[in-house]
Symmetry: C2
Subunit: 347 residues, 2 copies
């Protein structure tokens, strides 16, 4: 261990993190006053506030979040619980969340939900995740867990990309997205096919995203007096996607082109584009493809798809949580975001 001087400086360098005591001493005030400045209390004279702020800047002081938490206050920390982050979607979501929280001077820590046991571990105990001032939970449909009180969220919680009636939520209207796809699809010539993403088996840990898209799509078709020629289900990996694409096109070719395929995720749509090209068919005439997500590559591949305001959704989720942290006690609020159909060459 290196020497650990209890006081101030050594060779111009602070050897130990300055505390509120150091700031108080430096500014010639009491610790209470420094604390009041830190927490934007009204009862501080302007001149005093300036002195304290200067001392804080001089010492490069930052409050210790753990001590804040212990003292009964807040730790200025938010936990974000996300499914495994292998898509662009979560990167954008995080961007929106972090932007909003940073503006409010909150730190955010991410806890990846690699599997279900982790949810319970994160929430069931002493973990940091649970000790945060607020919780953001993404994508999973936790309604049942709330109802069954298996999720006892002592601290303010907001759902993003998911909905439950008992907590604040900020989400995409996937039903509307599916409907938009459907309403556009029925204007195109030929038979209609759809590819869905398989949701997890575990009921409590599942997402309704793709179910909603399906309901919206089928609803729009029904309203137009149409129906799908066939539906398929794929899981969210590239190999299965490619196999599914083959199956879809086999059947579509057998039944006769042209046709339109609604792929409920761009990744599936991409596999379809590949397979169409592979078979020497014309995208946009023989086979039309509508995706969902508007991934970064969608534009350059000319994919017609539903664009989601993901960053805004994250930003708004953060705002909902921040109002709770600032004392809002009203009923659960739901912020619904609508996707936008982006028509490109593929349909």
């Amino acid at each position: 261990m290196e020497p650990f001087p209890r006081s101030g400086y050594a060779g111009g360098q602070i050897m130990r993190k300055p505390t509120i005591q150091d700031v108080a001493r430096q500014a010639g005030v009491g610790v209470g006053t420094v604390s009041r400045v830190l927490n934007n209390h009204v009862a501080v004279k302007g001149a005093t506030r300036e002195t304290v702020l200067k001392a804080i800047a001089d010492l490069d002081y930052t409050p210790n979040p753990h001590a804040r938490r212990i003292a009964g206050g807040k730790s200025y920390t938010i936990s974000v619980l996300l499914p495994v982050l292998t898509t662009e979607f979560y990167v954008r979501l995080l961007d929106g969340l972090e932007t909003a929280f940073q503006e409010a001077r909150y730190d955010v820590a991410i806890f990846p939900l690699l599997d279900r046991s982790r949810l319970e571990r994160y929430l069931g105990s002493h973990t940091l995740a649970y000790q945060a001032d607020g919780l953001v939970m993404a994508t999973y449909n936790l309604t049942k867990m709330f109802h069954e009180r298996r999720l006892r969220t002592q601290q303010p919680t907001v759902l993003v990309d998911a909905y439950a009636d008992s907590v604040d939520s900020s989400f995409m209207d996937n039903v509307a997205g599916g409907r938009m796809a459907g309403e556009y699809a029925v204007t195109l010539p030929g038979a209609l096919y759809a590819v869905w993403v398989e949701t997890e088996l575990d009921q409590l840990f599942t997402t309704r995203v793709f179910e909603d898209r399906r309901n919206g799509f089928l609803g729009a078709l029904q309203a137009a007096g149409r129906a799908v020629a066939a539906e398929y289900t794929s899981s969210f990996d590239s190999l299965t996607a490619r196999n599914t694409a083959c199956t879809v096109l086999d059947q579509a070719q057998a039944a006769g082109l042209p046709c339109t395929v609604f792929a409920s995720a761009d990744m599936l749509a991409g596999a379809l584009l590949d397979e169409v090209r592979l078979r020497g068919l014309q995208i946009g005439t023989d086979v039309r493809v509508i995706g969902f997500d508007d991934q970064p590559w969608a534009e350059s591949r000319g994919l017609t798809t539903l664009h989601q305001p993901v960053e805004s959704m994250g930003y708004e989720a953060a705002q909902l949580l921040l109002t709770r942290l600032n004392g809002y006690k009203g009923p659960a609020r739901a912020r619904r975001f609508e996707p936008r159909l982006v028509v490109r060459g593929s349909a």
Copy 2:
């Protein structure tokens, strides 16, 4: 606010998180003894330990990490700083890390490095990331930042999937991986091509992974008196990968088949397989492809590739950090993992 009873129970339910005081009272011992049990101190009589553990279980007590941090300097929290997690690689890496840390009863929080400014934000201040007991930093080559003292890691740090001489590290020997690919490639008929992944422009924030693979590969070719017919660079997105695949095959077909292509990431290899198939060529005879990563889909697509023991690498990184946290003060250690060539149909 609901009533907030200071003591024990209400209707069989604990209204407030039990503290070490509650446990001590319940077990009929002092708080010091409880603390000793919690921290596995030797000087606790077996019978006393049992009593305390029972009280802990009865009350469903878990220590408050913030209080621990304040009192003892340890919070039992590890920060993991990762590049954006859009690949399977980081999921597996996290799995290895979390497994090891959980065994040692540490919590881990993830801080995604969406961009460079976040690195400085995470480390420069009061943030949770910085307040953790230890730091795991993945992939990026931060050597220069350490040398320039732009990264002042007060707490133990370990690099994973990266190397710097001043800190502990656990990493893949990508040079060896490249060499293995090269040594195998030279046994195959036809011209040799290689596709690399573009590294970021920012010097301080770059990774050496692909540079290493290249050096290994070219070294093996040189040792065999061979050379690549051409090299290509692609960025890590599917669109560029597909374009690059086209370019490679255009040139390879013009120069004459068969040929072998070393793609320094499975994602690039996958694009090549697609394009080969698209052109009606035979994979494994006309065009042989060697990948790198052994992604989950590699087996079913028959991709010859380099398998990386990613989980082990993460697990070992965690172990290195844990020894530091337990007081190890020795010089920086480097744990090198070797990839393994998995020969399948593609080459």
